[in-house]
């Protein structure tokens, strides 16, 4: 019996050690790449070209300084790092527009699909979820031709239109799943109290669906901010350039300005990283909404 106890204890210790090892590996897996970026972003150019590399940041903010200085000088952009700050501004405008339009369009449609019966009210949401399987690549050529013929290439409006095409369907699906979770009795009670349909939606149900709205806004903002393909194909002129194409120009192995590259990467990633950190429970719940019901 004693031997059995000792065996069990040993097993428990081994299990704890194993778990600690896995958790540490997980943390290293997630954080090390970010550390390497930060390391070189905070290192002077000369130091970044040393072998073996430094392992502790030198706290040299030269790369960040260079990126921001060029943004506030009146000289026309002459190298890729000059496009980062304007690119972030353009992308912020585009992504906010995409997010707001998604919220407006998807919350109304999601409510309709969740509450009313009309031809297609059951089939359409399924199709909208299925549309996530369509690779965005199949849409690039037509969007280029369409927007080109309307003179909307190299404008922010054009990209907003393109991004709506592949964000709205999934947003509608998410909002519908959210409204489905709110009991119909809520609507009925409000109607008995004299609300019109529209008032029920705007004053009663919509506030209850706030987590869903946040999920939709976050999701569409992130998709729009992170899109590279459409941003690259639709907007190539420097004054309309978005952030992802702007930082893609930083990868130039021959120029060896790795500090600027890393600093630009971190800046471009900062908005979505912060949003994801602050609101991860909305994101995870939103993106898995209805997964069990597929």
């Amino acid at each position: 019996m004693a031997a059995g106890n000792r065996g069990r204890l040993a097993r428990r210790v081994a299990a704890r050690a194993l778990r600690a090892g896995v958790v540490l590996a997980l943390l290293a897996w997630v954080l090390l790449p970010f550390y390497f970026l930060l390391l070189v972003a905070l290192t002077s150019r000369a130091d970044s070209l040393r072998t073996p590399p430094r392992w502790i940041p030198a706290m040299d903010f030269g790369s960040f300084q260079k990126i921001f200085e060029s943004a506030f000088s009146s000289a026309p952009p002459s190298n890729p790092s000059d496009l980062i700050v304007p690119g972030m501004q353009n992308s912020a405008v585009v992504a906010v527009c995409v997010a707001v339009l998604n919220i407006v369009i998807a919350s109304t449609a999601g409510y309709a699909f969740a509450r009313f019966r009309f031809p297609g009210s059951r089939a359409v949401p399924g199709l909208m979820l299925g549309s996530q399987l369509v690779p965005v690549f199949a849409l690039v050529v037509p969007f280029y031709v369409m927007l080109h013929s309307m003179n909307l290439t190299d404008t922010r409006v054009g990209v907003v239109i393109a991004h709506l095409g592949f964000t709205v369907p999934f947003s509608v699906w998410m909002m519908r799943a959210y409204f489905n979770g709110i009991p119909v009795e809520v609507d009925r009670a409000a109607m008995i109290d004299g609300c019109t349909r529209w008032q029920v939606f705007a004053r009663v149900v919509l506030p209850l669906a706030r987590p869903g709205i946040i999920s939709v806004g976050l999701f569409s903002f992130m998709v729009s901010w992170n899109d590279f393909l459409f941003a690259l194909v639709l907007n190539s002129r420097t004054d309309a350039m978005l952030i992802q194409p702007a930082i893609s120009g930083l990868y130039n192995v021959r120029e060896q300005s790795f500090g600027i590259m890393a600093a630009g990467t971190l800046l471009a990633a900062l908005p979505t990283m912060l949003l994801a950190l602050v609101s991860q429970r909305f994101l995870v719940r939103g993106l898995t909404s209805g997964v069990g019901k597929v």
Partner: protein, 289 residues
């Protein structure tokens, strides 16, 4: 009904119409930027794609790449989720940072891994040399196979945390009674995992697989930054081939045909994955019925 109109209009106009339109383009000969009207060529673009010596190798590469990404994501995601499913101090912090890699764009992902795997100054070669694992710096992007592996690792890195969160969510719904019953029947932890846990979280495994599959098929920005499809065409996946055909060789029709065939391949693979993961459950249900 009226409330659904804006969404329906957007979906039809900005998703349905472009899809049909790109199919129409794929049936025509059309040069990007030229004013000449598109010329009807039937399925010539498709036969041209299928007969192209680049097609079969890049299809094979795409499928292998996707398979590696899906399997790597599932494996690591499950291991990490099992570890996080237990109570320990600091668990919520670990879960908090998990979302970070997933929030990166493909471009920032490419730049990050391009730096880590930089053959002359990158931290990976530096660390491996300092610890004595290698005596000479490795040129990670000089061979197509190694470069594809590096890109698969980058993808798995960005997908694993999200997969972990999804699988963890599913693990938390596994009833404790099932495990107790299996333990009484004498099943060890490994058998309990395969016969109790895994069947229970099957749907989530499917979702994770399909998500990883879609992402792997869209691996375009990584190639754009890191290899340009080379050396030669050794890292040319379908997505990259379609992009260069349409927007570098300016052959819109053939590019659209490639994208359509790619969509087809992806839908088939997703269906296959669904069958592979879901199929056995139906059979086991019949057995118990």
């Amino acid at each position: 009904m009226a409330m659904a109109m804006p969404a329906l209009v957007v979906t039809l106009l900005l998703l349905g119409y472009p899809l049909v339109y790109s199919f129409w383009v794929s049936l025509h000969e059309q040069t990007l930027g030229s004013r000449a009207p598109a010329r009807w060529v039937g399925f010539d673009n498709y036969t041209a794609v299928l007969g192209d010596p680049i097609f079969l190798p890049s299809l094979t590469r795409t499928v292998l790449f996707a398979a590696a990404v899906v399997l790597g994501t599932l494996l690591l995601g499950t291991v990490f989720a099992l570890a996080l499913n237990q109570d320990f101090r600091g668990r919520s912090v670990v879960r908090g940072v998990l979302i970070l890699p997933w929030s990166l764009s493909q471009i920032t992902l490419a730049l990050t891994f391009g730096w880590i795997f930089n053959s002359t100054f990158g931290p990976l070669n530096g660390a491996l040399k300092q610890t004595g694992v290698i005596d000479k710096y490795v040129a990670w992007f000089a061979s197509g196979q190694v470069a594809l592996t590096v890109m698969a690792v980058a993808f798995v890195w960005s997908l694993v945390p999200f997969a972990t969160l999804l699988i963890l969510g599913a693990l938390q719904t596994v009833p404790e009674d099932l495990h107790k019953a299996a333990r009484i029947d004498g099943a060890g932890p490994v058998r309990r995992f395969f016969f109790v846990t895994l069947p229970w979280i099957r749907d989530t495994v499917l979702v994770v697989s399909v998500l990883a599959l879609i992402n792997a098929f869209l691996a375009f920005a990584l190639i754009y930054i890191l290899t340009g499809g080379g050396p030669g065409t050794e890292t040319t996946l379908l997505s990259w081939w379609g992009y260069t055909t349409a927007f570098r060789d300016l052959d819109l029709g053939k590019g659209a045909a490639i994208f359509y065939l790619m969509t087809l391949a992806m839908v088939l693979l997703a269906a296959l994955t669904a069958f592979f993961i879901r199929g056995p459950r139906k059979r086991s249900k019949e057995r118990t019925a």
